[in-house]
């Protein structure tokens, strides 16, 4: 019988799986229907919640392997990787998937090294060909796609958020909850403090379904309020180009591009962004791209689905009014 497809749970540190897990579990179930084997969730946490477990079942996990231990928080790769490896060695899943988040990118790399397995990181598509899994990954600043395959199971991969179709959610579908025995090693590193970013009330860049982004055309840091105001109407995150970040207008964590965050929202709106290769590398897998720029020759128009050639200081407020009208209906 084919082994299970495991999905390592990314949670909000309060006992609730993040919404990206609907995508990871949805993709795992789609592949399981071709490969055989059940879809299962593996949850390492200091505290799970009933609601969280229920949610994983509704998103398609047939079973949750729950390791609940105070030593698992805060996340430390050196603690998590041995726990995951022990479970993999005991249960032999055919695949282990994670989401592209800061901690899962790291722990999956550690897990792969520990198991001597292959890891395809930041995958944007998965397919089964002749019973084998093929991963598609953007490479060279997103200029090419690389199709990759593994020499043996388990197939390890991290999935880019907002790319895979989320599980529909079956109300009432419940996962069996197993609590396997696992050795949680003592950590070497210790948390000193966690500095929370001042909350903008807007969603996190990598997870946002809509992203509003600004570049050099904004002319100064004070003008980002125009985009923030628009973002509030849309429930969008606000990003920036490298030019805007290097000018000191926005902190680094807001940079979209090759030396910043890679995003894949349903809707991307770029204001005063020319569309340098290194920016495109971070957003070209967005589903719908809109560009507003007064230079009709700006390269971003080449990949934009919709463009407005005009002054962003006039277009952005006009768009805000139109979106407000539409969304308040």
């Amino acid at each position: 019988m084919a082994g299970a497809i495991w999905c390592v749970v990314e949670d909000d540190r309060q006992g609730n799986p993040k919404k990206v897990m609907a995508e990871v579990l949805g993709e795992a179930s789609r592949l399981a229907s071709q490969l055989g084997g059940p879809t299962e969730a593996v949850w390492l946490t200091d505290k799970a919640t009933e609601a969280g477990l229920k949610q994983l079942g509704e998103w398609g996990a047939k079973r949750v392997l729950l390791v609940e231990n105070a030593g698992l928080a805060p996340y430390r790769g050196e603690v998590w990787a041995p726990v995951l490896a022990e479970l993999v060695q005991k249960e032999s899943p055919q695949a282990v998937f994670g989401a592209v988040t800061t901690r899962q990118r790291e722990v999956m790399a550690r897990l792969a090294a520990r198991l001597g397995a292959g890891l395809a990181a930041d995958v944007v598509a998965l397919a089964v060909e002749d019973g084998k899994l093929i991963a598609t990954r953007p490479v060279y600043a997103g200029k090419l796609l690389s199709k990759m395959t593994w020499a043996k199971t388990p197939w390890l991969a991290t999935l880019r958020p907002n790319v895979f179709k989320p599980a529909e959610g079956q109300p009432g579908a419940a996962a069996a909850v197993d609590k396997p025995a696992a050795t949680v090693p003592a950590p070497a590193m210790s948390l000193v403090e966690r500095r929370e970013e001042s909350s903008t009330g807007l969603p996190e860049l990598a997870e946002a379904e809509i992203v509003v982004s600004g570049g050099r055309g904004l002319k100064g840091p004070e003008n980002f309020v125009i985009l923030e105001s628009l973002a509030k109407v849309l429930g969008a995150a606000v990003g920036a180009s490298r030019a805007a970040v290097d000018a000191g207008w926005r902190p680094h964590r807001f940079q979209i591009g090759q030396t910043g965050r890679t995003i894949s929202p349903k809707l991307y709106l770029g204001f005063g962004i020319s569309g340098a290769i290194q920016h495109l590398a971070g957003m070209r897998t967005s589903k719908v791209i809109c560009a507003i720029n007064k230079d009709p020759e700006a390269p971003i128009f080449k990949i934009a689905d919709f463009g407005i050639v005009g002054d962003l200081f006039e277009v952005a407020p006009a768009l805000e009014q139109e979106f407000k009208k539409l969304l308040e209906k």
Partner: protein
């Protein structure tokens, strides 16, 4: 304190990248090669640690073909003391795992106190080597660091690690591995003196056998490279700002169903 910085030579962002006759590889003709930008942050930070402590050694390490020596030379020009080049045909098809094994072996042989990496190389964007090396060595690691300080005794490194929604400050006992995120520092440009001095510094070639490593098949390999599927042609929306905004919102709702 001995610091090893792992770097990779990659095509410049702006360079044209084409698939070669072998669909698994790119055509390397005419490519401008650079040190991957995140690795430059790592080199810079290693130099700053050494300068602050007033002692120590910074060693730049790469795994790659002969041309990768140029990248090591750039690191030497920035100020690294010497370089190690893992240069062996057996690593031509090396994936993350085999690369990590080779690097872990060098770090062990050199008895480094700190291993610095870039967050990811900007060619394959895998971003896994640093954490994989840490795992193979049994070391703690912190990825995507935005700040760091090594204590006076050289026993602990305190790092600020970027995570969703904030920064986590951790103490890691040395030896440890960390990977640099943008924002950690502003890399220096090599001075003319640095460039001249780099020519005299040692770049040691190391073969797999020198590290006691046998030739192995990769765990993950490229089936083929493909060009991006073309995006459907875009539409420029005409009109004054108010008209264009109205038409765009309508198109996003009715045609693209994006909102």
């Amino acid at each position: 304190m001995k610091i090893l910085v792992m770097i990779k030579q990659v095509p410049d962002t702006a360079t044209q990248v084409k698939i070669s006759g072998d669909p698994k590889a790119i055509d390397t003709a005419g490519i401008t090669w650079i040190v991957s930008p995140y690795d430059e942050f790592a080199v810079e930070e290693a130099l700053r640690i050494k300068e602050k402590r007033g002692q120590g050694e910074v060693v730049a390490v790469t795994l790659g073909p002969e041309r990768a020596k140029e990248a090591l030379r750039s690191c030497l020009a920035m100020g690294a003391d010497r370089a190690i080049h893992l240069n062996d045909p057996t690593w031509e098809q090396a994936d993350t795992l085999l690369t990590a094994r080779a690097l872990a072996a060098v770090i062990k042989q050199e008895q480094a106190a700190l291993a610095l990496f870039g967050r990811q190389a900007i060619d394959d964007d895998m971003g896994a080597v640093g954490a994989a090396v840490a795992e193979l060595l049994g070391w703690p690691c912190a990825s995507w660091i935005m700040e760091e300080s090594v204590d006076e005794a050289g026993k602990t490194i305190r790092v600020g690690r970027q995570v969703e929604g904030g920064l986590e400050i951790f103490d890691l006992p040395l030896p440890a591995a960390v990977s640099a995120q943008k924002g950690l520092n502003e890399p220096r440009y090599p001075t003319l003196k640095g460039i001249m001095g780099a020519k005299k510094k040692e770049i040691k070639d190391v073969k797999a056998a020198d590290l006691g490593l046998a030739s192995e098949a990769p765990a993950l390999s490229v089936v083929k490279l493909e060009a991006l599927p073309p995006r459907p042609p875009g539409r420029i929306i005409p009109g004054d700002p108010a008209e264009a905004a109205k038409a765009l919102v309508k198109a996003l709702r009715e045609d693209a169903k994006a909102i």
